[in-house]
């Protein structure tokens, strides 16, 4: 055990150290190549300018390289595959896309995805924000936060077990082991098979994701909330604003950028989510979503890389509006601020 711990620590040190060494070393090297300290006048200034040209690339370099290898290359490969047949060997043109347009399941998925996109990011962000704000004010806030955070730390498999025990259905009159139906039965209602009620089952699945991701929104937003200058809140208090007004008109606008980040991230996550659908319904009862459909064609029984890739491309295209919106946001902020 001891040697294992030792080697684990060694491996960790090598990994992290290597990374630190790069940044430190590359920067040092640049300073050596174009010295600015101890060099007189013009030369120093020229060197500084050269440093200024090179340094941003030293900073973004590793990120760029990794992004290219780990994301851009697969994207290109996916694009290529989407024009290929099931084995990814022969070019078939737009056939996969044509198929998708005609496929009933695909269309259901698109509709469901819209539903998810409309509900989940908004709900998570909103709830996360509320919880972040409320817990900030109380002494046991950190405990409350970690309880809300907990679902995030539970793996998807764990989460699906949890929710199985919430939505579990037993016929009317029997002992319910799902708490939701137990509750309904306690109130005198009829137990429902929640996950099989078409259309509404989407919402029952969304609840799971909301339950998980609210913690995410909460963590990020609460760190942003703490960055709000206290004085602006004090000023608002003096201006007579009540807590709601302070929240909506002083706090929210000041962390608007972060809210956008959270919203975007969850939106994108929703586009990619499939674990929940997979484990709860696997898309049955009309609850299919794009990511699960893609996964289906790719790996599970479908075995059709072309179609899988085509769906992936559709998912990736869906992000374009979000991208544009974010770029606007980013340029506006740098236009004013820089």
């Amino acid at each position: 055990m001891g040697s294992q711990i030792f080697s684990a620590i060694l491996v960790i040190i090598v990994g992290v150290g290597g990374c630190v060494a790069y940044f430190w070393g590359a920067n040092k090297l640049l300073d050596l190549a174009f010295p600015s300290r101890g060099v007189a006048g013009r030369a120093a200034i020229d060197n500084l300018r050269r440093q200024g040209i090179v340094r941003p690339w030293l900073f973004v370099g590793p990120a760029l390289l990794i992004l290219t290898v780990y994301l851009i290359y697969p994207v290109v490969d996916t694009l290529r595959l989407s024009f290929m047949d099931r084995a990814g060997q022969n070019f078939v043109g737009l056939a996969n896309y044509q198929w998708a347009v005609g496929d009933r399941e695909f269309r259901t998925s698109i509709l469901n995805n819209f539903l998810w996109l409309a509900v989940v990011p908004a709900a998570c962000t909103f709830l996360g924000l509320i919880i972040a704000v409320l817990t900030d004010k109380i002494w046991w806030g950190n405990i409350a936060k970690s309880l809300v955070f907990m679902p995030l730390a539970i793996s998807f498999v764990g989460a699906s077990v949890i929710w199985k025990f919430i939505y579990e259905y037993r016929a009317e009159g029997q002992t319910q082991i799902g708490i939701l139906n137990a509750f309904i039965q306690y109130l005198g209602g009829t137990p429902q098979v929640w996950i099989s009620i078409p259309f509404w089952n989407n919402f029952f699945l969304m609840v799971i994701l909301i339950w998980i991701q609210t913690g995410f929104a909460m963590v990020i937003l609460s760190s942003a909330l703490r960055g709000i200058p206290e004085e602006t809140i004090e000023a608002a208090v003096i201006d007579g604003a009540n807590p709601f007004q302070i929240f909506w008109r002083i706090m929210v606008p000041q962390i608007w950028g972060t809210i956008a980040v959270v919203w975007t991230t969850i939106t994108i996550l929703v586009l990619k989510v499939f674990d929940i659908v997979l484990t709860m319904t696997n898309g049955q009862w009309n609850s299919q979503v794009l990511a699960n459909l893609m996964f289906d064609w790719m790996f599970r029984g479908g075995g059709d890389f072309g179609r899988g890739a085509a769906i992936a491309v559709v998912i990736m295209l869906a992000v374009v509006p979000i991208m544009i919106w974010n770029i606007r946001q980013a340029t506006r902020e740098s236009g004013e601020g820089h």
Binding site: P229, E231, T232, E234, A235, A236, V237, I238, D239, G240, A241, N242, Q245, R249, I250, P253, Q254, W256, E336, G337
Partner: protein, 372 residues
């Protein structure tokens, strides 16, 4: 309507005590100015009155009601923050209108009041800007505007004019004075470092030091009858000259021996047992004048070390002792004094001050009070 009463108000940040028991009565409609060295607790006191800081002990009453735990919004106050505390995401207009919008004032009324304030503060061209695109002074004006747009019972100003240029400062100062006059029932509490502001605006000045009140009084009281050495030196600019002396003979007048050896007779009564004790002798730079040859002994004689020319007046820094004792004298701008020259200075006896070993002023009963 809005009397303020502070009784033994204390405030500490953790173990550090900032306010050590403040007792203060402010009458409705008074204009009170807090002065004191940087870090003495002025902002803290103001924030405590506003309700932004919970006081550690003591009671705070507004209009007869204890407000220790009344939220700020219920205290009927407006405040200008030393650090502006503008809402970064709102335009100047919205910054100023916010309080009234919250109060659900009619739109037209809001507009009128904001425009009016903007006019006074010369902010009209900037109403659509965000704070970050404004200069320091402009931001400060927005902060003032925000307070005056509302119509509170108590105004709290924390160094509201520190970043304004002289002209604007005078103009704004006068606007504040007018504002005060137009609402005689409104209490104003004002923190400043500017002597002129303090002197011109205040009904009463509160001098703070290290979280304690040193003296409370009208401007002229503080100027003419400083209660102690600290107040004497703090009020007036440049500060009063203070010299260590020995009391040659207590009584009225008192004879003191100056460092130069001269014995001066000060028309201040000291107890007889003060004879022989150390004391501090004070004279304001503006009360010093060049001794006529006609007059007998000058009080001081020294070499001019340095001259600051301020236009209308000049300040002469005069070395008068072997131990580097220095006096500042304010002279007319056109008086002929040269660096290195020798000056003989005197002052009318009524303008001399004397403080005991602990810095307390000796009773001034016998002393001719100057006409205000």
């Amino acid at each position: 309507m809005a009397d303020l009463t502070l009784r033994d108000v204390k405030k500490s940040y953790g173990a550090v005590n900032i306010l050590h028991g403040i007792d203060l009565d402010i009458k409705s409609g008074e204009f009170i100015v807090f002065v004191g060295p940087s870090g003495c607790g002025k902002s803290t006191l103001l924030r405590s009155i506003a309700g932004l800081e919970e006081i550690t002990s003591g009671t705070l009453q507004i209009a007869g009601e204890t407000v220790n735990d009344v939220p700020p919004s219920q205290r009927g106050i407006a405040m200008v923050f030393q650090s502006y505390a503008l809402y970064p995401h709102m335009t100047v207009y919205d910054n100023m209108a916010f309080g009234m919008k919250i109060a659900k004032a009619p739109k037209a009324e809001i507009d009128r009041r904001v425009k009016q304030a903007a006019d006074i503060l010369q902010l009209t061209p900037y109403l659509d800007r965000l704070p970050k695109a404004m200069s320091g002074g402009q931001r400060q004006r927005v902060a003032i505007g925000r307070a005056i747009v509302r119509n509170p019972k108590v105004f709290l100003f924390d160094e509201p004019l520190s970043n304004l240029d002289a002209a604007l400062r005078v103009a704004t100062r006068i606007e504040i004075a007018k504002l005060k006059e137009s609402m005689p029932q409104t209490t104003m509490i004002y923190v400043t470092h500017d002597q002129v502001e303090a002197m011109t605006l205040a009904d009463r000045i509160v001098v703070l030091k290290d979280g304690r009140i040193e003296q409370v009084g009208t401007p002229m009281e503080l100027y003419c009858k400083p209660g102690n050495l600290f107040v004497a030196q703090f009020i007036g600019s440049p500060a009063m000259n203070i010299l260590p002396v020995t009391i040659e003979r207590g009584g009225a007048p008192t004879a003191v021996r100056l460092p130069s050896g001269t014995v001066a007779h000060v028309p201040i009564a000291t107890p007889a047992n003060a004879t022989g004790t150390k004391a501090s002798f004070g004279v304001r730079p503006e009360d010093l004048r060049v001794a006529d040859d006609a007059e007998g002994g000058a009080l001081f004689e020294g070499t001019v070390d340095y001259i600051e020319q301020l236009g209308e007046v000049q300040l002469a820094y005069i070395d008068i002792g072997r131990q580097g004792e220095q006096l500042v004298a304010k002279m007319p701008g056109n008086a002929e004094v040269a660096r290195g020259g020798i000056l003989r200075l005197t002052a009318s006896p009524g303008n001399l001050h004397l403080f005991d070993e602990n810095g307390r002023t000796y009773a001034v009963s016998d002393r001719a009070v100057q006409a205000a």
